[in-house]
């Protein structure tokens, strides 16, 4: 460092001397140039080796000096050695100098290389920016969308067929891969679309005008027709005296017949049959056609039009057109939907469940009993008859249970065995309702009514069905159904009368033929309706439920008999075809424990006597059964514990045989006696 500083000072000095003498400068420059050259030409490693050699030499010389000074301080050789050392020193100095120069040179070259490098990097950066910019620009271009893409154009084939040749001839050899051509095709099609739309708009305008015109025409004609009506009325009125004179009241008949003519075919068949049946047999049966005549006329007309349309559609091509039309319709509807927000499924469903405006209503009534009104409607889409019904009860009927069994739906349920009306008899219906998102026909019943099989049959409709029974077919003509209906109505009324009394805990009057004692020591304490679920929950009804003897459509009641601290609960199932099927009793006695058929033979025997041993199928069979149950209960208690229950019934022996049979059988001898056989 010191040497550096000194050398630089020397340089400065030299520079200072530059100005003084040019000649000197020249030498100096030369020297410098020479040195530069020298330093570049020489190799650093060689210099370093040279330097190490020199140092070693100096060291050797110095030791020599030291030895000489020890031995012979005044030797002449000493001086030579000194010079030699100095020369070597000079050499070292020279080496140092060249090294310095070389170092400076290296630094300079490094600086220039660095600069080069920087400029290249800058260039590169610029290029990257440019690339990025270009990429964003291209993506922007790619993302570009024009409004024309939203416009629905006529298909290419149609365009080629229909557009003028001036537009299409360019594209006769259209190649979908040629972009330019594709673009120009698009332009052409757009242009064509525009012209077409303009034309259509014109057409629409003219049609609207025409419609308006026609409307006016219609109004005019209607006015004329209206003016005609009073004239016609006048004529009819003026014929009245003549009619009266001839004793024919054509008018009502005519109205009915006119309506009948408008009935859909199935209802017409039924109407004709039922009216003739009624006229032949003097019955409390009223038949009426209800519904608006005008609607019916309109419906008939539209149906006929529909027929013509259908005829046309037989052509396949036309069918396609119709489909296209439908598509257009759907589109329009969607458009409307967005405004009105109507569920298309709901709309479809309503359309499917369309009924004919005319219905047939029959009213069957019993003298001072209830009357049952049944309305038959025709489902025009489902092609089945549905039935709704309503019963008018006499005012004296007040009990809940009694009212229940006279409800229209209840009376008609299983009029013919197994015919619940829950399933559509038409096998197609299943798929039709599935299409509109309804899973079961049963869920539609509140809207449209029950689809009883017998109703289809009396309307002359026949479907492929799972079970086809000769009996069933035979009993489905109008006469039989009406007979069954009246019989059902009668038996239901009888049942309702019995229930009415039972609800007030009074045993209805027994028929004379009934073999049971008229009085009983036990009392009826409760009679109530129960549900199927509740029925199934009881332990002592399990056997019946397992044997499938009861179904949810049946009627369920609970009866409680009591005597002192003993009680007998009876759950009673009344089938819809009562009294053809006996009411089914399940008993549960509470007396010194809980007894029922599965753990007590006597209760089992009582159930047997009630459920299978009664043969008379009369309408008051329920009363008979209850009266007998009362006597069985008495006999059981009196034969079991004669101390707690003093004997009121007469029997010979309390038990008999190995199964310790109780004397449940009543014999009408004297005051009545109970025996085992």
């Amino acid at each position: 460092m010191v040497k550096d500083a000194s050398s630089s000072s020397i340089k400065k000095k030299r520079k200072a001397t530059n100005a003084e003498a040019d000649s000197e400068i020249d030498i100096y420059k030369k020297v410098i140039e020479f040195e530069d050259k020298e330093s570049t030409n020489r190799q650093g490693s060689i210099d370093a080796n040279l330097y190490f050699e020199l140092c070693q030499d100096i060291r050797n010389l110095l030791t020599e000096v030291f030895e000489l000074k020890q031995t012979d301080p005044s030797s002449k050789k000493l001086r030579d050695i000194q010079t030699e050392i100095f020369i070597k020193m000079c050499f070292i100095k020279k080496l140092n100098r060249t090294d310095k120069i070389r170092h400076v040179f290296g630094k300079e070259t490094l600086a220039t290389e660095k600069q080069k490098c920087d400029s290249i990097k800058l260039n590169y950066q610029n290029l990257v920016y440019e690339l990025h910019h270009l990429v964003t620009e291209t993506s922007k271009c790619l993302a570009f969308k024009s409004k024309d893409e939203d416009i629905e154009l006529v298909p290419f084939e149609e365009f080629m067929k229909e557009a003028p040749e001036s537009l299409t001839k360019k594209f006769l050899d259209y190649d979908a891969n040629d972009r330019v051509q594709k673009h120009s095709l698009r332009l052409a099609r757009l242009e064509w679309e525009l012209t077409q739309r303009k034309n259509l708009a014109h057409l629409c305008k003219s049609l609207v005008e025409e419609q308006k015109k026609l409307g006016q025409d219609l109004v005019e004609r209607k006015d004329k027709l209206n003016a005609l009506r009073p004239l016609l009325m006048n004529i009819i009125n003026s014929t009245k005296p003549l009619q009266e004179h001839l004793d024919i009241s054509l008018k009502e008949m005519r109205v009915e017949h006119k309506l009948a003519y408008l009935l859909p075919d199935p209802l017409y068949i039924f109407y004709v049959n039922v009216v003739s049946y009624k006229n032949v047999n003097d019955l409390n049966l009223e038949v009426e056609i209800i519904g608006d005549q005008d609607d019916a006329v309109q419906w008939k007309e539209s149906a006929q039009e529909g027929h013509f349309l259908k005829d046309d559609e037989s052509d396949e091509q036309d069918q396609e057109v119709a489909e296209v039309e439908e598509v257009v319709e759907v589109k329009k509807r969607r458009h409307r939907k967005s405004i009105q927000q109507v569920d298309p499924m709901e709309e479809k469903k309503n359309k499917l469940l369309e009924i004919h405006p005319l219905k047939v209503e029959i009213t069957a009534s019993l003298p001072d009993g209830p009357s049952l009104t049944i309305i038959f409607s025709y489902q025009t889409r489902l092609k089945i008859i549905t039935v709704t019904s309503n019963a008018t009860l006499p005012t004296k009927m007040t009990g809940n249970c009694a009212k229940d069994v006279l409800m229209g739906d209840n009376i008609l349920c299983e009029l013919i065995d197994g015919d619940t009306g829950f399933e559509s008899p038409n096998p197609i219906t299943k798929y039709q309702i599935k299409k509109v998102g309804v899973t079961s026909f049963q869920s539609l019943i509140p809207h449209i009514g029950y689809a009883y099989h017998w109703a289809q049959k009396i309307c002359g409709m026949d479907f492929l069905s799972k079970q086809m029974n000769c009996d069933e077919v035979g009993s489905t003509n109008v006469e039989n159904v009406m007979k069954i209906l009246f019989k059902r109505l009668e038996s239901r009324t009888d049942l309702a009368n019995q229930l009415q009394l039972l609800e007030q805990n009074i045993l209805p009057k027994l028929p004379k033929s009934a073999e049971c004692p008229p009085t009983s020591a036990c009392s009826m304490t409760k009679w109530s309706c129960i549900t199927y679920q509740k029925y199934c929950q009881k332990e002592f009804t399990r056997a019946f439920v397992e044997e499938d003897l009861v179904c949810p459509n049946d009627l369920f009641y609970s009866l409680l008999l009591t005597r002192a601290n003993a009680s007998l609960e009876a759950l009673i199932v009344i089938k819809n075809n009562y009294p053809q099927s006996l009411p089914l009793f399940s008993l549960c006695m509470k007396f010194n424990g809980v007894h029922f058929a599965e753990n007590n033979d006597e209760v089992r025997d009582m159930e047997r006597l009630l459920n299978v041993e009664i043969s008379e199928k009369i309408s008051s069979v329920l009363t008979v059964q209850i009266a007998r149950l009362r006597s069985y209960f008495d006999v059981y208690l009196e034969t079991t514990d004669s101390k707690a229950f003093p004997q009121t019934m007469t029997f010979i022996r309390p038990t008999c045989a190995r199964n310790r049979k109780r004397p449940f059988k009543f014999r009408n001898m004297g005051n009545g006696i109970f025996t085992q056989y």
Partner: protein
């Protein structure tokens, strides 16, 4: 529709001498014949038809069949006041629809009155070819060959329910609560047991009637309204009162050093002499009225009672099959 047989009660059963048929008699007066051979094969899958009776014979409409007995030649049916005999051959071979009894015996003085008596039990004396008939409060002894009444044994005051006989003795149980032990040589009552007078045996709420008796050389087994109990033959004192959960005993038997017993109970019991329960079989009937068993040719036992079902076991451990009347 509810089947009438839903409520049938089987009061008696018998297995044919050949061991292949089971005959049940129910309260509707019907004999039902089942084939045992197929049912007892363990490796065969049985269809529903196999478990139904092969045919039915109506003995007397409206009167229940109270008792059945088999002799090598005849099936003897006790109805009400009348005994019918069917030849086993005719039951097995002829058209069952026209099956008529080969002979019948009327119980004297009992027929066609209001007080007609059930023939609750018929027992067979193999040595003398006699039958003992428990009907009403009397035991009738008939010679089977000539079908002639030999003797009336009337010491009971109420209906005889059950009989058990050995070579020399006849044991009877009745509704009056007395178990009489008769000497068959003299037809005299030599001893009697009155279970309802013993405190731990009596059940006053169920009554004093005796529903079942059985005996071997050392013991008499009896039960009914009173609890099932085992009595010493000689000392006439009870040795064991059995711990059963029941509301009346109708079936009890000493069988191979075990006690089998059933009645109004959901279980059928197999017990040891000292009263340990060996097995309990849940049964389908509310009350068991009849049990029959055999070892050859098929090892089978059948339990029947107030149910249209007959429970079939191959041992007295658990139920293997269930026959049904309908």
């Amino acid at each position: 529709m509810l089947n009438k047989d839903f409520y049938s009660t089987i009061l008696a059963q018998v297995i044919s001498p050949c061991g292949n048929y089971l005959v049940t008699g129910d309260t509707s007066g019907k004999l039902s014949v089942f084939h045992l051979s197929k049912i007892t094969q363990s490796d065969v899958v049985l269809s529903k038809e196999d478990l139904l009776p092969k045919y039915k014979i109506i003995v007397k409409e409206g009167f229940q069949i109270n008792s059945l007995l088999t002799t090598p030649q005849f099936l003897i049916v006790g109805v009400v006041g009348e005994i019918f005999g069917y030849n086993w051959k005719s039951i097995r071979t002829t058209n069952p629809q026209r099956n008529k009894p080969d002979w019948s015996i009327d119980i004297p003085n009992r027929k066609n009155t209001l007080d007609t008596m059930d023939i609750n039990v018929i027992n067979y004396d193999t040595i003398n070819n006699h039958i003992f008939v428990g009907c009403g409060d009397t035991i009738y002894v008939f010679d089977l060959e000539r079908r002639k009444l030999l003797k009336n044994l009337s010491k009971h005051v109420d209906c005889v329910n059950c009989l058990s006989n050995s070579e020399t003795d006849l044991i009877s149980g009745a509704d009056d609560g007395v178990v009489n032990i008769w000497d068959l040589r003299s037809y005299k009552v030599t001893n009697k047991i009155v279970p309802h007078l013993s405190e731990p045996v009596a059940r006053t709420e169920l009554g004093k009637w005796i529903g079942a008796v059985s005996a071997n050389e050392d013991y008499v087994l009896c039960g009914g309204g009173p609890r099932l109990s085992l009595w010493h033959y000689r000392f006439l004192t009870y040795s064991t009162v059995f711990p059963m959960d029941d509301k009346g005993i109708h079936v009890a038997e000493i069988y191979k050093e075990k006690i089998l017993a059933g009645g109004r109970s959901r279980l059928f019991y197999q017990m040891s002499f000292i009263g340990d329960v060996i097995s309990e079989i849940p049964v389908s009937a509310a009350t068991i009225y009849s049990i029959v068993h055999q070892e050859e040719p098929h090892n089978v036992s059948c339990l029947a009672g107030s149910s249209p079902k007959v429970d079939v076991c191959s041992s007295f451990m658990y139920k293997n099959q269930q026959l049904s009347l309908y």
